[in-house]
């Protein structure tokens, strides 16, 4: 009996110490202690070969599994992509003209044009290893000039930003992650705001500076891009998505926008990292 009580006391002491240690680590992380990022980077570097090997081995299984579980979706996607290619074949000339005009306009306003920023193409190696973070790992790291904070895009628009860099791979936080935030501008207006991720498959939610009784409320379908205002975390004019719906904020003082991202973050294969660092 005495032995059992002693053993119970030791167990409680152990769990108390472990809880205390966890809380200390959480506090360090919330205070952005460099040691946490450094530990993550080191673990990423050390584990990289093993992880890479596992990903290579798992790829055929993963593809087969995806084929089995999403056969219908893959077929629909193929049809949709064929139609889209046909639509896009005649567009390059118009796009080139529009890009030229946009570059001139941004230059007049002293904003950097995204088309002039050097880039590097990366391959998506794996999705998030957790059900609660929305990230992907990509095939290049610090050796290729990638740094924390750099924006990541694909042909459709903004995909996310780099949050961890090791020697030969980087982790990209997707724009659907609840911790992701980006300054936005409604195309062709002076309406700005901040959009935040709401989770996998969900729209972004943006607070704006528009009052609910304003005369010219944004309409569903309006295009949204990065604002690129002074000290922004992203350069201007990266397409983000389209306004899906408009609603009053909780306090009723401004309106919020639900934005459907252009980029499909569920199916990412190749991405482009903009070699652009936000101004500190």
């Amino acid at each position: 009996m005495a032995l059992s009580r002693r053993s119970g006391g030791r167990s409680r002491l152990t769990i108390a110490l472990l809880v205390l240690t966890s809380l200390t680590l959480l506090t360090l992380d919330f205070r952005d202690a460099a040691i946490v990022q450094s530990a993550r980077r080191t673990a990423g570097n050390v584990f990289s070969p093993l992880r890479g090997a596992a990903e290579t081995v798992s790829e055929p299984f993963s593809n087969a599994w995806h084929g089995i579980t999403s056969y219908g979706e893959v077929q629909d996607e193929n049809d949709r992509l064929r139609r889209r290619i046909e639509e896009l074949e005649g567009r390059p000339v118009l796009d080139e003209d529009a890009a030229q005009q946009l570059a001139e306009l941004l230059e007049q306003q002293n904003l950097e044009w995204v088309g002039a920023i050097p880039t590097t193409a990366v391959r998506v190696l794996s999705g998030s290893p957790s059900n609660f973070s929305h990230t992907v790992d990509v095939s290049k790291g610090s050796r290729d000039g990638i740094k924390v904070g750099m924006p990541v895009v694909n042909g459709a628009g903004l995909v996310g930003k780099v949050v961890l860099v090791t020697r030969d791979r980087s982790t990209v936080q997707l724009l659907t992650d609840p911790d992701f935030a980006v300054g936005i501008r409604l195309l062709g207006t002076q309406v700005t705001g901040t959009a935040r991720g709401q989770g996998k498959g969900e729209d972004l939610l943006a607070d704006t500076n528009i009052e609910p009784d304003a005369a010219d409320l944004p309409k569903p379908g309006a295009s949204v891009t990065t604002s690129g205002v002074d000290r922004a975390a992203f350069p201007a004019s990266i397409p983000i998505g389209k306004v899906r719906s408009i609603k009053e904020s909780r306090g009723g003082l401004t309106i919020e926008l639900e934005i459907r991202p252009m980029a499909d973050t569920e199916r990412l294969a190749f991405l482009t990292v903009l070699l652009w660092e936000p101004t500190p």
Binding site: L28, F30, R51, G127, S130
Partner: protein, 175 residues
């Protein structure tokens, strides 16, 4: 049969942790069911509790969670906190789990996996996230089912690592 030395237990447990981490990072993201993947590190923590009791189980859970946290962009220490508590609670059930039918540890692993996901969501929400909702329940159910598939193997592996065969555990109870 003499129980393995603490050093051997540490080496074997570390080996299982590395294998579980490799599978979780390299395989699990590509093998999702309805957009949800199994949580092998949580299962290792639970199996640690089943095999080694609340004391060592909590330490194994903490180590598993900490290793996982190194590769996630969620708050650092959140998995370690959750897995240590879940392993501790499961370890508390140790005696009844140990001497019961084979399916009891498996069922325990299923329930504890769901509990682990829910606890993670609750702690994550306390820390500023917005994880509580129907989606959390959906994730917990699927993780519970996926972990059930791997539970017999992982419980057996942790039994080997900690030297907690049924016979040895029975002796430990009467010691």
């Amino acid at each position: 049969m003499t129980p393995p030395s603490p050093l051997l237990v540490a080496v074997r447990t570390s080996l299982i942790l590395v294998i579980a981490l490799t599978i979780q990072l390299g395989f699990a993201p590509g093998l999702q069911v309805f957009g949800v993947q199994g949580d092998l590190l949580l299962l290792v923590a639970i199996a640690g509790g089943i095999s080694a009791g609340p004391d060592r189980g909590a330490a194994i859970g903490f180590a598993a969670g900490l290793a996982y946290d190194l590769f996630l962009q969620t708050p650092f220490g959140l998995s370690a906190l959750t897995y240590a508590i879940v392993a501790y609670l499961v370890g508390g059930l140790q005696d009844s789990v140990l001497r019961a039918a084979w399916w009891i540890p498996v069922l325990t692993a299923t329930a504890a996996s769901m509990l682990g996901v829910i606890l993670y969501g609750v702690f994550g929400t306390v820390l500023g996230g917005d994880l509580i909702g129907l989606e959390l329940v959906r994730v917990a159910l699927i993780v519970g089912l996926l972990n059930t598939i791997a539970a017999p193997l992982v419980v057996k592996a942790m039994g080997w690592a900690t030297g907690s065969t049924k016979h040895a555990r029975a002796r430990a109870v009467y010691r």
